[in-house]
């Protein structure tokens, strides 16, 4: 279903004010032909999931550089579940230790990208996974 571009929410949560990474990803996805909805800083998990629902997003990318990832990622997963929206591809990025990333993926985060991840790898992941979701939905 390539009749419209993929729509991706890029979000920053909690008290983390460092959004350069999120903006770089937003720009890269834009240049790959996607429609990127940027939420701005200091969002709650509920705000992020409501945004994704209203925007009919295919994916949510959450950037966390504050160390609060083990709190905020699971809260978003929980919100997605309670809103019956777990089909939305939820991925993240930030300074996240490998062990934490493993646990987050067990909880339902589809992928965690850490500093140094090539942009193309992130674009490929989003296109592949969100594309699969579209194919299922149609």
């Amino acid at each position: 279903m390539a009749d419209r571009p993929l729509r991706i929410v890029i979000a920053k949560a909690g008290l983390d004010g460092h959004d350069r990474g999120a903006k770089v990803i937003a720009r890269a996805l834009r240049d790959a032909g996607m429609e990127v909805i940027y939420t701005g800083l200091f969002q709650t998990p509920e705000q992020i999931v409501q945004t994704a629902i209203q925007e009919d997003a295919d994916g949510i990318g959450l950037s966390i550089l504050s160390g609060a990832h083990m709190t905020l990622f699971p809260l978003v997963v929980e919100q997605l579940r309670s809103q019956d929206a777990s089909d939305i591809v939820f991925f993240g990025g930030g300074t996240i230790p490998a062990e934490d990333a493993r646990r987050l993926k067990e909880l339902g985060v589809r992928e965690i990208f850490t500093p140094g991840a090539p942009l193309q790898e992130i674009i490929d992941f989003v296109e592949r996974e969100c594309g699969k979701r579209r194919a299922l939905a149609s």
Partner: protein, 301 residues
Amino acid sequence: MDVLREFEQHNPRALARAISRAEAGRGGELVRALYAKAGRATTVGLTGPPGVGKSTLASALVRDARARGKRVGVVSVDPSSPFSHGALLGDRIRLAEHFTDDAVFIRSMASRGHLGGLAGATADAVLLMDAFGFDLVLIETVGVGQSEVAIAELAQTTIVALQPGSGDSIQVLKAGIMEIADIFVVNKADHPMADQLRREIRSMMEMQHWSGWVPELVATQALEGKGIDELVAAIERHALYLNETGELERRRRDAFTHQVRQLALGRMERRLDRALEAQPRNGLDPYEAADRIVTELGLDG
């Protein structure tokens, strides 16, 4: 999920999906089914140059409408890249305080190559929000230059927001967006040049002979919520004018005609593109080529 059934049960995900379908050019069936339910919402358009404060004004208007218990839909259009077709939709940032209010539904739209300041499916999105039961639908255009006036064909009330310090008195004399305002807003009214801009707009208006509605001029500082009460009062006076004079019905008929025209034009364009692709007609002069193709498609006369 059966989008229509879920839509009628007021599931916001169904509204979101319905808008996506309209954006993909597959909204016809839904619009047909829901058309009779629309026509109740007040529609207000917000236009103006990039950075003037359209989203901040929208957020302030949403806050006011919510305080009065109204349900509000917001459609916010940002430009698509002509190269990658991607877009960065950032208008929500200013509306964050309303994200978890379930009587507020915000949808960002990319213009997807559409000119005029709106997206091709904006009219459908507004109709769907109207049919969903929102009392007020705010439509925020892309940041416009001088000639993007499509919003005036769609909204009942068009607000043109301007900011001080962006050009001399000739700018307000030019044709285009300065002619579509039902209400002028001078935002960032604490700027030292704000009074000058207000004077220029006033003297521009004095040069024109008005019959019917005379555009109002409101000064705001949207970020601080200053002037929003006056803006809301101006919107209400305009709504009253539209109702009392029958202008509302005329605008609705015009909007309807405009949309029919757009839809029909889109289909004709696709036929034309196919015909041109199949037979490029090299070697003819452009007028001759156009004559022939129009005749072949049965569109002349």
